[in-house]
């Protein structure tokens, strides 16, 4: 730690999800302390309350859904407080699950997302001919990767998410109960809640976010633009501590300990095996679950502006915002790779030189040259073969 911190005592918000693990581990294993930060963690019940408390200054920063800082900056969430992020907390981790009833009706023979989507489309067509009322699928927030992944998958499989289904919002820890009570027929939610539905015998996972978009962005560390401007050194220290934590988390031998720390923290009220499974490194031949959560490898923590731009394009596609908004402008206001690089320099982590990358062009690992070395990047394929460039 070299610079003077404007504020050393911070309160960070998290939601009961496995991908809160970087913040929980950074505190438990002293990564925050090493950077001069004294962190209090507040477990929040809903994404809206995370957002409101960050806006009101009750929380200094928080685990956020990757599209949340974008929506807040665009003012489409009804609040309109500019926010920024300089760190991606993780990639992957969401799954789409359906009730046992729907699962058996779909009669799945394949596990490819396109085939699964086709089976669902045919079922929904039969529903309509029989005059059945629309099935209800839940996601976690209007501005979430879950929402966009779900719509992207449905639409690419020929299902109109606004006509053929009803989409609703439910906070992650309540998903399983709603599926059990028959209030919803399926959901898209982060780990471990898909696995919890399975282990409780109330549903089955059918598609993972990794399958829809390989190594897709999930959660970020978000603060208000104003907070970042008033606490530049604290912000960099916070990001540096989390980069170190994420590097530690992606050493396979540490995942067991990470699971233990998360279980002992009591943040998650879910069966311990589901937490261990979510943090484990899945078999390479498990199409649905491989490679699981990624925190650091392949520049996973880097705030790619191409990720931000993709989310903004989805907001436009689904009429949350107007077509006149320039995705690359907003992405540049909200996603701050230069802060990430400053923080990465403090802890000797490598980082990309570019702020964007083409998405959907790599089916497997690929080398990205960075300052006299090479970063091994993971695949970034979309299941329907689409490509996306800013």
């Amino acid at each position: 730690m070299t610079s003077r911190l404007e504020k050393a005592s911070l309160e960070l918000g998290i939601i009961p999800l496995v991908d809160a693990v970087p913040i929980v581990v950074a505190q438990a294993k002293g990564f925050f302390e090493r950077h001069g930060l004294d962190i209090r963690i507040s477990v929040e019940a809903s994404w809206a309350s995370i957002r409101d408390k960050v806006v009101a200054g009750v929380l200094d920063g928080a685990q956020m859904l990757a599209p949340m800082p974008l929506a807040a900056t665009l003012g489409v969430d009804g609040i309109g407080m500019p926010m920024v992020t300089a760190l991606s907390l993780n990639l992957n981790g969401n799954s789409i699950a359906v009730s046992n009833e729907l699962y058996s009706q779909m009669v799945l023979e394949q596990t490819e997302p396109a085939a699964v989507g086709t089976a669902l489309r045919e079922l929904l067509q039969r529903d309509r001919m029989e005059g059945r009322k629309p099935r209800v699928f839940a996601h976690v927030f209007p501005f979430s990767a879950h929402h966009y992944e779900l719509r992207y998958w449905l639409a690419a499989c020929g299902i109109d998410p606004d006509r053929d289904l009803r989409l609703e919002v439910i906070p992650p820890p309540q998903m399983v109960q709603h599926l059990r009570d028959g209030r919803i027929d399926g959901f898209c939610v982060g780990a471990p809640w898909g696995a919890v539905a399975e282990s409780a015998g109330v549903g089955r996972r059918i598609v993972s976010s990794y399958q829809i978009w390989n190594n897709s962005p999930e959660k970020v560390l978000g603060v208000t633009r104003d907070w970042a401007a008033r606490h530049p050194n604290s912000h960099v220290a916070l990001i540096a501590a989390l980069i170190e934590t994420n590097r530690w988390l992606d050493v396979p031998e540490n995942r067991g300990e990470a699971a233990r720390v998360l279980i002992e923290s009591g943040v998650l009220d879910s069966p311990e095996p589901t937490i261990r499974e979510a943090l484990g490194v899945p078999d390479a031949d498990s199409a649905l679950f491989s490679p699981g959560l990624v925190f650091y490898n392949g520049a996973a923590s880097f705030p790619w502006r191409s990720h931000a731009a993709w989310f903004i394009k989805q907001m436009q596609r689904w009429n949350q915002i107007g077509a006149e908004i320039q995705a690359s402008d907003i992405a540049a206001q909200v996603y701050l790779p230069q802060i990430y690089r400053q923080a990465a320099d403090l802890v000797g982590a490598s980082y990309p030189g570019a702020d964007t990358k083409p998405e959907g062009t790599h089916n497997g690992s690929w080398p990205m040259p960075v300052a006299q070395q090479v970063l091994t990047m993971g695949p970034d394929r979309f299941f329907d073969g689409a490509t996306f460039e800013v």
């Binding site: 019940a45 806006v55 009101a56 407080m81 927030f141 309540q174």
Partner: protein
């Protein structure tokens, strides 16, 4: 005013209910914070929802404002511990209102009134903005359509406008829509 209360704290619920009823409101439903808000809002159709800041169902309620199929409604939040600064900033940021524990009945009424007024003001502004956008787009398209007519038919500006107006009347269209129809057709030729 038809009010829906969402809180797990029974003592606080009782105080809120008394204050609300005392100032002439109707409490149409009292729910636990984990209940199915979407269904409850559809069934009771409250004018305003008062909800605990830390309620898990907060996300569900917020989504009502995001999805077009349900009428968005004012939301008043209440919190156990908020200082004046918090409330001020939250209000400025556009959250309907924060009500803090220990608030007197008379202040509660005014806070709710302000929240509702702000909500309606916001809705009106949004409509006005949309109207303005439409008007600007109309003016631009009408000018372009006039230009096409002047060029292709050799008409004066006045005659072009008259022709466009008659086309709109004959087809029972708004002038802006008639202009856009003409432009689309002109593109094809």
């Amino acid at each position: 005013m038809r009010v829906m209360l969402v809180d797990d704290d029974h003592d606080r619920l009782k105080l809120l209910r008394e204050a609300l009823v005392g100032s002439g409101n109707e409490v149409v439903a009292e729910l636990a914070t984990s209940s199915d808000l979407l269904t409850a809002v559809n069934r009771h159709q409250p004018d305003v929802v008062l909800i605990d800041v830390d309620a898990p169902s907060r996300d569900t309620l917020e989504s009502l404002g995001q999805i077009a199929r349900d009428r968005p409604r004012p939301i008043v939040l209440f919190a156990a511990n908020s200082d004046a600064e918090t409330i001020r900033r939250a209000m400025r940021a556009g959250v309907s209102a924060y009500v803090v524990d220990g608030m007197s009945a008379s202040r509660l009424k005014s806070v709710i009134d302000v929240a509702i007024a702000r909500f309606h003001e916001h809705q009106a502004l949004k409509r006005e903005l949309e109207d303005t956008k439409t008007r600007l787009a109309d003016r631009r398209d009408i000018d372009r359509a006039k230009g096409v007519l002047m060029q292709r038919r050799g008409l004066s500006e006045n005659d072009a406008y008259e022709l466009l107006r008659r086309m709109a009347m004959d087809r029972n269209l708004k002038l802006g829509d008639a202009a856009r129809a003409l432009l689309a057709a002109a593109d094809l030729i």
